[in-house]
Amino acid sequence: MVTKLVILAVIVLGVIAVAQLMRVYELSSKLRNKEEGEISNRDNRFNANMMLIFMVVLFGGFIWLMLKYGWTGRGDAASVHGREIDWLLNLNFIIIVAVFFITNALLFLFAFKYVKKPGVKAFYFPHNNKLEMIWTVVPACVLAVIIILGLKSWNQVTDEAVPESIRVELFSKQFDWTARYSGADNILGKFDYKLTTDNNELAILTTATLDSAIYQMEFGAMGINALESKLNDSKLMMIPEEREKMMTDLGRKEMLVRLLYQMKGRHDAKLDAQAWDDIIQKDTLYLCKGKEYEFNFRSKDVIHSAYFPNFRAQMNTVPGMTTRFKFTPDTSTEEYRKYKKNPKFNYVLMCNKICGGAHYKMKMIVVVLEKKDYMKWMESKKMETFKDKYFATVAPAADITPEGVVDGDTTQVAIPAN
C-alpha cells in the first residue's frame, strides 16, 4: 500500500517536473535575446540566499542531532582504557566540530556575500605566500597534538598485558562465540584445528584428544576406513559427483591423519594439564570488575570481529592466527544498569566483521560481576573443567584416560561415544 503511494507520488512528481520544464523552456525561448549560459541576477541572488539558508539548516540540523542523539546510544565507557579513549575522542570531537563550523561557515558566507553584483569586478588575487604558510603550519601544529596524544593512548592500549592478568580465549565461528577460561593455572591449553571433534569443538590439544581425533579420522562414521569401503563396494551405486566428492574427502583425510600422527610424535604429555583445567563457557561471558583480562581470539572459519562497544574494545578474529586485546572492566553490570536506568541492560560482545548471512545475530552477553560474586561463579565452575566435560561425553567402557590410551595403540581401543 505504502509502496503504491510512493510509486504514485513518483509519477506525479515526474509529470510536474516535465510540465515545469516545458514552461521554463518556452519562457527562455521568448527571452532568446539573452545569451545562452548567461545566468540572470535573480537566479544568482536566489542561489546565494539559498546558500545562507542551507548553512543555517545544516548547522541547526547538526546541533539538533548532537543534542538529541549525541551520547545517548554510546553511554559512558565501562573499562579503564575506555575512559581514556572517550576523553581523547571528546577532545578530537571539539577540534573537528570547531573546524567543521568555521570552514563551512566561511564557505557558505562567502558564497552568499560574493555573488555577482552588476558593475563589481572580482578581485584578482592569485596567491599569497604568507596566507598559504599560515594554513599549512596551523593544521600541522594541531595535527601534531592529535598524533602525539593518539599514539600515547594507542601504545598503552596495545601494550603487553600484565603477567597477572586473567587469560581468556574467545573462539568464534559462524555464528556464535565460545569463551575458554584458562582455569586455575591461568594458562590456556594449546590447540590445533585438526583436533576438532564433536566433543572437542575448540580443538584443544591433549594426549587424549589427539588420540581421539586420530581415531575419528580413521574409524569414525565418515572416517578413512568407512570411505574406503564405500568407494570399493562394487554393489553400491553412486552418482559420479558424489563419488568424486567422496574421493576428495578421502584424500583430504589421509593428508590430515598423517599430520596428526606427526603431531603425536612431537606431543609433550606434560602440557596436558594446562588444557584439562580450562573452563569452556557458552552464552554468557562473566568478567570480574577491576581485573585485567587478556583475551586471545581465534576463529574456526572466516574472519569475525570481537566488538565490545561498552568497553571500547575490538579485535578481529582471524583463522590461522591468534589475536589479542586486553582491557579491565571497571563498572559492574549492576552499576551500569543503574546509570542507564534500564534494569534489563546488558553488556555485549558482538561480531563486527561481515561473516555470512546471520552475521547480525552473532553475539554473546557479557556480565561484569563484583569480585565476590565472580569468585562464587568461578567456584560453581570448578567441577565443569574441560576434563570433566570431555570425559562425561566419552563412553565409560573406553580405555581412554586423561593420559591418553592406556596401551598406546590408538587404532584398537579408544572409542568415544559420538
Binding site: G37, W71, L88, L106, G320
Partner: protein
C-alpha cells in the same frame, strides 16, 4: 619538440578524415576512436551503472528502516526467490550492499569519473587532436563495458551475487560453504574486476602519455589547468596501484579454484576440515588496501580538479595558490601510498605498524586543508555566477570538509578501536569520497555538457537537482554518524539483536534509520530531475554558444560542432596560464590561454 611533431602529424590526419573518409554509424558511435565519443560512452555507461547502484541502495535502505516489513517495491525488484513475501533474505541484503559498493566505487566513480572527463578534457585542454592512442582508448572503453556487463550479470546468478562486502575479504569470499554468494557470484565479481583493471590500466597509460607528449606549443606543465594535473596524477596512482589489486584477485582466484593457501589457514567450514595451512587473510588485506586506499584518491582527485576549474571560472577569479594546489595534489598522491594499513588497525596487525600508519594518515590532513582554504579564498571577493556546476562545486567543498574532519577521528588508531566498522565509518567515507566525487562529477557534467553535446542543460532543473541532492545527502549521512557513534556495526541486516540487551540503543538506531531512508528516497527521486534534464537536453536543449561560461581554457576555443581532430585549422598556441580571470588592466574579465600577452603584460 614532441608537441610540434604531433602538430604536423595530427593536422595531416584530420585532413585525411575530412577529404576521403566518411565515418559510418558504427565507427562514429560504437567502435569510435574519437576521445570525445569515448568519453561520452564512459559517461552513459557510468550513468546507467550509477542508477543501478542507487536502486540497490534504496532496496537495502528499506530493509534497514522497516526491517521485516513486506514491501511491494522490494518484491518487485527481487522477486519471490530473494524476497519471499516482500521481505529480502539475509544473504541478498549482503549481496546488495556488496554490489552497491563495488559499482559505486569502481564503475561510477573510477570508470565513470576518470574515464569520462580524462577522455573528454585531456586532449581538449592541452590542445591535442586526440589521445596518444585512439585504439587503446577504444579498448579501454570496451573492457569497461564488458566488466560492467559481467558485474550486472552476477546479480542474476542463482546463488546470488558476491556477498562478502565490496572489500571481499577472504576467507569469507573464498569459501562457497560460508556464504552462498561466494560461489559463482564471486567468480563473476573477480572476472569482472580483472577486466576492469585492464581497462583502467590501458586508459591510465594513455592519459599519462598524452599529457606528457601531446601538449600544444606553449603549454608547459605549469600552464596546465588543474583538471589536467588532477587527471594526470590520478592516472599515475592508478597505474601504480591497480596491478596490486589484480595480484590480490589472482591469488584469491587461485585459492578458490586451485586449492592454494595464500589467504587460507586452519579452517573448518560447513563441517569440512580444509587442508590449507600457512596462508594469511591479512596478506589479502594488505594487498587490497594497497590499491584500496589510493583508490579513494583516484576517485577524489579528479573531482577536486574539476571543481578547481569550475570554481575559478564561476568566481571570475584565478584559483588561489595554483602552485600550492598542484603541490597538494602531489603530496596527497604520494601519501596515499603509505597509509593503507589504517584500514587494518584492529585486524591483528602488529600495533607498532599501526602507529606508523597513524602518523602518515594524519599527515594527509595538511594538503587537504590547504586545498580547502584555497577554494574558500578563491570565493573571497569573487563575482560568483551560480551555474548548476558552481553549486555542485561548492557542495563538494562542503562535503570534503565535513567528511574530511571525521577522517581525523578514524585515522587515530586508539579511537578507531571503538568505531571501526561501525556506521561512523560508512558515514565518513560516503561524505568525503562518495558525495564529494559525485558532486564533482555532476558539476563536471553540467559544466562541460555544452562541449559534449553542443547543447545547454536546463539551469532551473539543475538548481532543483542540486538543492534536493545536497539536502538529501546531508540528511542521509549526518544522522548516520550518530548511528555509528551509538556503536551500530555496519552490514547488519537488522538491529533486532539490540532488543536483547539495550532497548534504548535499538530505538535510537531505528529512529535514525527511518530518517536516513526517507532522505535517501528523496535524494534518489531528485536524481530523476537530472536524468530527465540530461537526456532531454541531449535531444532538445538549446544550441550552446562556443564559450557559454566565458572560460579561458582551450576547449572553449573549439567549434560547437565537435569535429574529429578538435580544431578545424592549426592547433592553438598557448601564451598564458589558464586562470587569467578579472585581470587588472583589461576590460573583459577573462583572457583565453591562446591570447598572446599584451605589451608590457606580466604573466601571473
Amino acid at each position: 619538440m614532441a608537441a610540434v611533431a604531433h602538430e604536423a602529424h595530427g593536422h595531416h590526419d584530420s585532413h585525411d578524415h575530412h577529404d576521403h573518409h566518411h565515418e559510418s554509424f558504427v565507427s562514429k558511435y560504437i567502435f569510435s576512436q574519437d576521445h570525445k565519443m569515448i568519453g561520452k560512452q564512459f559517461l552513459m555507461t557510468a550513468v546507467f551503472m550509477g542508477v543501478v547502484a542507487m536502486l540497490l541502495s534504496i532496496l537495502f535502505r528499506i530493509q534497514l528502516a522497516w526491517p521485516g516489513e513486506s514491501s511491494d517495491f522490494v518484491s518487485f525488484f527481487l522477486g519471490e526467490n530473494w524476497a519471499p513475501g516482500g521481505v529480502m533474505k539475509e544473504d541478498m541484503y549482503l549481496g546488495l550492499v556488496t554490489i552497491h559498493g563495488t559499482i559505486m566505487v569502481f564503475f561510477l566513480l573510477t570508470g565513470g569519473l576518470s574515464g569520462t572527463f580524462s577522455n573528454i578534457l585531456i586532449p581538449l585542454q592541452i590542445g591535442a587532436r586526440d589521445m596518444a592512442s585512439g585504439f587503446l582508448n577504444m579498448l579501454s572503453y570496451w573492457f569497461f563495458l564488458i566488466s560492467s556487463v559481467l558485474m550486472l550479470l552476477s546479480l542474476f546468478v542463482e546463488s546470488g551475487p558476491a556477498m562478502a562486502g565490496w572489500t571481499i575479504y577472504p576467507p569469507l569470499s573464498a569459501l562457497p560453504q560460508a556464504v552462498s554468494g561466494s560461489g559463482l557470484g564471486m567468480t563473476l565479481w573477480l572476472f569482472s574486476m580483472t577486466v576492469f583493471i585492464a581497462s583502467s590500466l590501458i586508459g591510465s597509460l594513455n592519459y599519462i602519455v598524452t599529457v606528457l607528449n601531446l601538449r600544444t606549443k606553449g603549454m608547459s606543465m605549469t600552464r596546465l589547468p588543474l583538471t589536467i594535473w588532477a587527471f594526470f596524477i590520478t592516472a599515475i596512482i592508478g597505474v601504480l596501484s591497480f596491478p596490486v589489486l589484480l595480484s590480490a584477485a589472482l591469488l584469491l582466484m587461485m585459492d578458490r579454484l586451485a586449492g592454494t593457501s595464500f589467504y587460507l589457514s586452519d579452517i573448518i567450514v560447513g563441517g569440512e576440515m580444509l587442508t590449507q595451512h600457512g596462508g594469511s587473510p591479512l596478506l589479502y588485506q594488505h594487498l587490497f588496501w594497497f590499491l584500496g586506499h589510493p583508490e579513494v584518491y583516484i576517485v577524489l582527485i579528479p573531482a577536486l580538479g574539476l571543481s578547481s576549474e569550475i570554481i575559478a571560472t564561476n568566481s571570475r577569479k584565478p584559483i588561489f595558490g595554483y602552485r600550492a594546489m598542484i603541490g597538494s595534489i602531489l603530496a596527497i598522491a604520494f601519501l596515499s601510498f603509505i597509509v593503507w594499513a589504517h584500514h587494518m588497525f584492529v585486524t591483528g596487525m602488529n600495533p607498532f605498524l599501526g602507529s606508523v600508519f597513524v602518523f602518515t594518515t594524519l599527515l594527509i590532513a595538511i594538503p587537504s586543508a590547504v586545498k580547502v582554504f584555497n577554494y574558500i579564498t578563491t570565493l573571497w571577493r569573487g563575482s560568483i555566477v551560480y551555474t548548476p556546476a558552481m553549486l555542485f562545486a561548492i557542495g563538494l567543498v562542503s562535503t570534503f570538509i565535513t567528511g574530511g574532519v571525521t577522517g581525523i577521528i578514524l585515522a587515530d588508531a586508539a579511537l578507531d578501536i571503538t568505531i571501526h566498522d561501525t556506521y561512523f565509518v560508512v558515514a565518513h567515507f560516503h561524505v568525503v569520497m562518495g558525495l564529494s566525487a559525485v558532486f564533482g562529477m555532476f558539476g563536471g557534467v553540467y559544466h562541460w555538457f555544452p562541449k559534449m553535446f553542443g547543447r545547454m542543460m536546463n539551469t532551473r532543473l539543475g538548481y532543483a537537482h542540486f538543492w534536493i541532492t545536497i539536502v538529501g545527502a546531508y540528511g542521509v549521512f549526518f544522522p548516520m554518524h550518530f548511528v555509528g557513534l551509538a556503536g551500530a556495526p555496519r552490514r547488519y541486516y537488522d538491529y533486532s539483536v539490540y532488543g536483547d540487551f539495550d532497548i534504548e540503543s535499538y530505538n535510537l538506531m531505528l529512529d535514525l534509520n527511518v530518517i536516513i531512508t526517507v532522505f535517501a528516497i528523496i535524494a534518489a527521486l531528485g536524481q530523476l530531475l537530472f536524468l530527465f534534464n540530461f537526456f532531454y537536453s541531449i535531444l532538445r536543449g538549446p544550441i550552446a554558444p562556443a564559450n557559454p561560461w566565458k572560460g579561458t581554457t582551450l576547449e572553449w576555443t573549439t567549434p560547437v560542432e565537435r569535429i574529429h581532430g578538435n580544431w578545424p585549422g592549426e592547433l592553438p598556441t598557448v601564451h598564458r596560464w589558464p586562470y587569467d580571470y578579472s585581470k587588472p588592466g583589461f576590460d573583459v574579465d577573462f583572457i583565453p590561454q591562446d591570447v598572446p600577452l599584451a605589451e608590457g603584460e606580466e604573466e601571473h
